[in-house]
Symmetry: C2
Subunit: 309 residues, 2 copies
């Protein structure tokens, strides 16, 4: 029996989990539904950081040392941009630019982010289905001690230094799920929430009404892979943000955050299981391709074991 | 006495003449009025090939071997574009892209091509004033045996192979001269027409009514530097095009083309002087920086010698 998996994911960590899934099951059985709350306009270009990271990771183009962007990248565009005196806080690699230019051009012509992402995925031979969460604009904003900041201004320009009071998803209440998203969720035998930042990367997905409704009403088990290991986040501002939002940096907080939504939580072998939720353990740190496959397998096995609701 | 020069110019050859002027007189006395009939939209970017060539040439960034684009250029954007299966007939260098992205972004925000060109010129320390002929869209089209072609499709994609029946400047009848253009013409002590292609690079400038009227009514002498040497064009499709348009490839045709507009024609030392026009001679081929200065000086001296009308 071929089983279908839908994964809700943000960028780096989530992309690794999807890459792990690709190693253990037929690509066509995998649908990755990707956060677009981080999308923004920069120098007139439409940039979709999480979709880009997923596309680069699954096509083997991701820069694994840097954690974002492409391998074998060059930076001559940025150098020329600085010569012109233009803002250079967001780094755009020469190769990376191709995706942004093509995407922006096609969006301006009326093509959807869904169609553009699909074509790019096909051009790069990615078998899995990659869907933006929505073709409508949902923008993550941070209410901070330095005022209201658009996600990339907080994340990249301010390096997550401002203290966050609240995370806001503008436009989500009127956003439709992208074509295929709701169908993929209902068709899935299991649904995974990737080990992406719950507040910044998964919550935007959950803020889209159709996605939220589907997740609460489908019969397939939903398993979250925890982004917390030993009281710390693997990467990025998760731990800092959790503290600022008044949460303990542990799996109880993750379980509480996803309460009513998930049926199980996959946590790191060394961590204590929170109460009130089904838990499985594995080494959740994904350093190698093998790690990715192992974590993906552990998440799938765990989800299958939970059975339908 | 400080004398002011206005130059009507296209890309490569004209840029060399302006660069020559910069070597023999104060930069602030030079105004280059640049053809924008070649401008086009590509992948959503606004590209101004002749302005780019002038900017790159005057700031020392031009690729002198290639004849277009920048030195020390890299092509990783193009490689990534091809991976995506996108059209690659127009080469965009990684550094070159910065200018296109910034220009497109600023135009979309409502800035004028004049303002953008000025800021770029200032950022790169170019003292001369560089003006687009118009902030309105004038588009050069070629009526050919292969149908109506936009300039870059003819020039770059089709490598000038189609046989041209007519050259058309769409939008010119309603185009206003860019701010500063008419003033610069009237303020000039001499006006030069650069050795750019008369039909493809200078005629678009002349097709703008205010520019045409100013050139016909100003008292300053107007001198054209011929693009023909020994019955051949120095570069590009000039000779082929002249034949297709039923002209002899010689200076008589150039003089006839500019009849009523120019007061003098600067031709190559080895060429025969056409009748009915004042002529001066120099070695008009501009291979070195020294050649550029020499031709610029010969053109200026000749123009000064003609006196006001």
């Amino acid at each position: 029996m071929t089983r279908r998996v839908a994964v809700l994911t943000g960028g780096v960590g989530g992309a690794k989990l999807v890459h792990g899934l690709l190693q253990i099951m037929p690509a066509e059985n995998i649908t990755a539904i990707v956060n677009t709350g981080d999308d923004f306009q920069h120098l007139g270009l439409h940039i979709s950081p999480d979709i880009d990271t997923v596309l680069y990771t699954l096509s083997g183009k991701a820069n694994r040392v840097q954690g974002w962007g492409r391998e074998d990248e060059s930076w001559n565009f940025m150098e020329a941009l600085r010569e012109l005196g233009d803002e250079d806080w967001f780094a755009l690699g020469d190769r990376d630019l191709a995706l942004h230019v093509v995407r922006s051009y096609r969006l301006a012509q009326g093509d959807s982010l869904t169609a553009i992402t699909r074509d790019c995925s096909m051009a790069w031979g990615i078998g899995a289905i990659i869907l933006p969460m929505s073709d409508n604009r949902v923008a993550t904003f941070l209410d901070t001690d330095e005022g209201l900041l658009e996600f990339q201004r907080y994340f990249v320009e301010s390096r997550c230094a401002p203290i966050v009071k609240q995370v806001i998803f503008r436009g989500s209440e009127n956003a439709k799920a992208a074509p295929g998203v709701v169908d993929a969720l209902y068709a899935a035998d299991i649904v995974l929430l990737a080990p992406s930042n719950p507040y910044l990367s998964i919550d935007p997905l959950l803020s889209v009404p159709e996605i939220n409704t589907a997740l609460h009403s489908l019969r397939a088990p939903v398993v979250s892979v925890s982004p917390i290991i030993g009281g710390r986040a693997v990467k990025g501002p998760t731990a800092k943000l959790m503290k600022e939002l008044g949460k303990d940096v542990d799996n109880s907080s993750i379980a509480a955050h996803y309460a009513g939504l998930i049926n199980g939580l996959l946590i790191d072998s060394g961590d204590e299981a929170p109460s009130g939720i089904q838990v499985a353990k594995t080494d959740t740190l994904m350093r190698s391709h093998f790690d990715r496959a192992r974590v993906a397998e552990a998440a799938c096995d765990f989800a299958y074991s939970l059975g339908t609701k």
